[in-house]
């Protein structure tokens, strides 16, 4: 296929996805309304990107930081089936919004095409495409967690997150916390 035809086909598909993304956004708006409404001045929506599971863990670790920085409620949108159980462990006041991986991909596509919400944060230093946060890691000793927090999440005053304690019996949550501990160490390590 020549470039002209290929590019036109890809663009057409991406535009179609963006329209789906718009429908997903409308659905999320309704879900937020049902959960007490979304204040555009103070609330924030954090979207876990399926391609970047480490970003999801970092977002969960920064949950309290989000609430402190923005001053309102934190909505957490994820395709991870465990998210609704994990969220109260990290920050009990956050609201979980479920979406499929395809829906989140469509939402990313919409965000690439138009700026439709100033309070939407994708939890990744490299997704959606076009983000080059990973290139900043190591420059002047900047860590991945700093790029994530200050860059991707606009948490202007960086604070190293703290792993929450968990005394429950759910083995999935225990395993996730072990993973989060490893990720936290890796992403805040300057040498990395």
């Amino acid at each position: 296929m020549d470039v002209r035809a290929e590019a036109a086909k890809v663009l057409k598909e991406r535009k179609r996805q963006a329209v789906i993304g718009w429908r997903v956004w409308r659905r999320l708006q309704k879900a937020m309304k049902a959960a007490g409404g979304f204040d555009r001045e103070r609330d924030v929506i954090v979207v876990a990107v399926p391609e970047d599971p480490d970003g999801e863990a970092l977002a969960l670790l920064h949950m309290e930081h989000f609430a402190k920085t923005y001053g309102g409620r934190v909505f957490f949108c994820s395709s991870n089936p465990l998210a609704s159980k994990l969220l109260p462990v990290f920050f009990k006041d956050a609201v979980c919004l479920a979406a499929s991986a395809e829906e989140i991909e469509a939402l990313e596509c919409l965000a690439q095409l138009v700026k439709f919400c100033g309070r939407l944060r994708f939890a990744s230093v490299s997704h959606p495409f076009g983000r080059i946060g990973e290139r900043m890691i190591g420059v002047k000793g900047i860590t991945e967690d700093e790029v994530f927090a200050i860059g991707a999440c606009s948490l202007w005053k960086y604070e190293r997150p703290v792993l929450p304690g968990y005394s429950g019996e759910n083995s999935d949550i225990r395993d996730y916390l072990k993973k989060a501990k490893r990720i936290l160490k890796e992403k805040t390590d300057e040498a990395a």
């Binding site: 590019a7 095409l113 080059i132 002047k140 900047i142 991707a152």
Partner: protein
């Protein structure tokens, strides 16, 4: 009762109207975004047709002189590291083209601001689905919805040059910078001194205008011009386009290529930190650079001085760099300038 009903109907109508408008605005945005991406595709195909299949387009997202100067400075070394591709640098406007052409760049293409934005949007939207030969020459292009690095300007002492070298040209060092081709003995530049009655080695070129930072008050410049004249200097203002010279000074347009010759003959320049400052950093003349303390444009996390200082960027060690606040202490700045002369 009737009054209450009317009030409720009015409230209901308002709610419907508000809801309707919000939905319509969203769809209109989406439609505009889609058309913009179409335009980006057209720009990309046009460029590809002109420069061939192995061309890679290095896009300057902003018409700022300093940004184009720095990226053009490192592009020759970058192109040398990628010999299998044809590096095409795109710039916005003729001014940008003149800056880029100070360096040995093979191809420079002038695009409009809108075409540049559209190209970036197309790249952002489709870049992970197909091989689009585009690179953005900035760490956080304004046209890019997914950019996240804006706030790192000044963070942990990160200066303008380091952020470019770290993020845009990873692997290059300041030693890889190409030398700009400034003219040396251009009679037209020399003639400017005679035409405007300027003294050689005793002229001050003032640069009071900048795009992205706060400016000094008119009163400050008026006092400064008077004091410089009292000290025996000829005073001129660098002007281009519709810019007006400062009262009591000659308006001189110096082409980029002739800047070195002009300033090394004039002797002194006093500038508000702007793109031109990056260009004159290595010149053999007295350079007094003014940096606003008030960071109105929210440039990163540190101060403008931290981010843009020529000394921090290691571009010049002999520049006199002064921070100012338009709201207080302009008089102190004025005294420090006179001391530095």
């Amino acid at each position: 009762m009737k009054q209450r009903d009317a009030r409720e109907i009015k409230r209901f109508a308002k709610r419907i109207l508000r809801k309707g408008i919000s939905g319509f605005t969203g769809l209109r945005m989406l439609y505009a975004g889609r058309r913009f991406a179409d335009r980006g595709l057209a720009v990309y195909l046009r460029l590809r047709e002109k420069y061939g299949e192995n061309a890679r387009f290095y896009v300057n997202h902003y018409p700022g002189t300093g940004d184009i100067y720095l990226t053009s400075m490192f592009m020759p070394a970058w192109a040398k590291r990628h010999p299998d591709e044809r590096a095409v640098v795109t710039v916005i406007g003729k001014g940008g083209e003149k800056v880029a052409k100070l360096f040995p760049l093979q191809d420079v293409e002038v695009l409009s601001q809108q075409d540049t934005k559209a190209l970036i949007r197309f790249y952002e939207l489709c870049g992970d689905q197909m091989d689009i030969h585009v690179e953005i020459l900035h760490y956080h292009a304004m046209a890019m919805n997914s950019g996240i690095l804006e706030r790192f300007a000044g963070y942990k002492g990160l200066d303008f040059l380091s952020i470019y070298l770290g993020v845009v040209f990873p692997g290059l060092t300041p030693a890889d910078a190409a030398k700009p081709a400034f003219s040396e003995n251009d009679p037209a530049i020399d003639a400017l001194f005679d035409r405007y009655g300027l003294q050689r080695r005793k002229t001050v070129l003032l640069v009071p205008y900048a795009n992205t930072i706060d400016e000094m008050s008119d009163q400050f410049w008026t006092y400064l011009v008077a004091a410089l004249k009292e000290k025996g200097y000829s005073v001129c203002t660098n002007v281009s386009g519709d810019e007006e010279p400062l009262p009591g000074t000659e308006g001189v347009f110096v082409p980029y290529r002739g800047l070195r010759q002009f300033l090394e003959t004039a002797g002194v320049t006093i500038q508000l930190r702007c793109g031109l400052t990056d260009m004159i950093a290595g010149f053999d003349c007295k350079k007094i650079i003014l940096y606003p303390v008030d960071n109105f444009f929210q440039f990163g996390t540190g101060s403008l001085y931290d981010y843009f200082s020529l000394k921090n960027m290691d571009l010049s060690q002999d520049a006199v760099e002064i921070e100012f606040s338009r709201w207080k202490g302009e008089r102190l700045v004025y005294e420090r300038i006179l001391e530095a002369l």
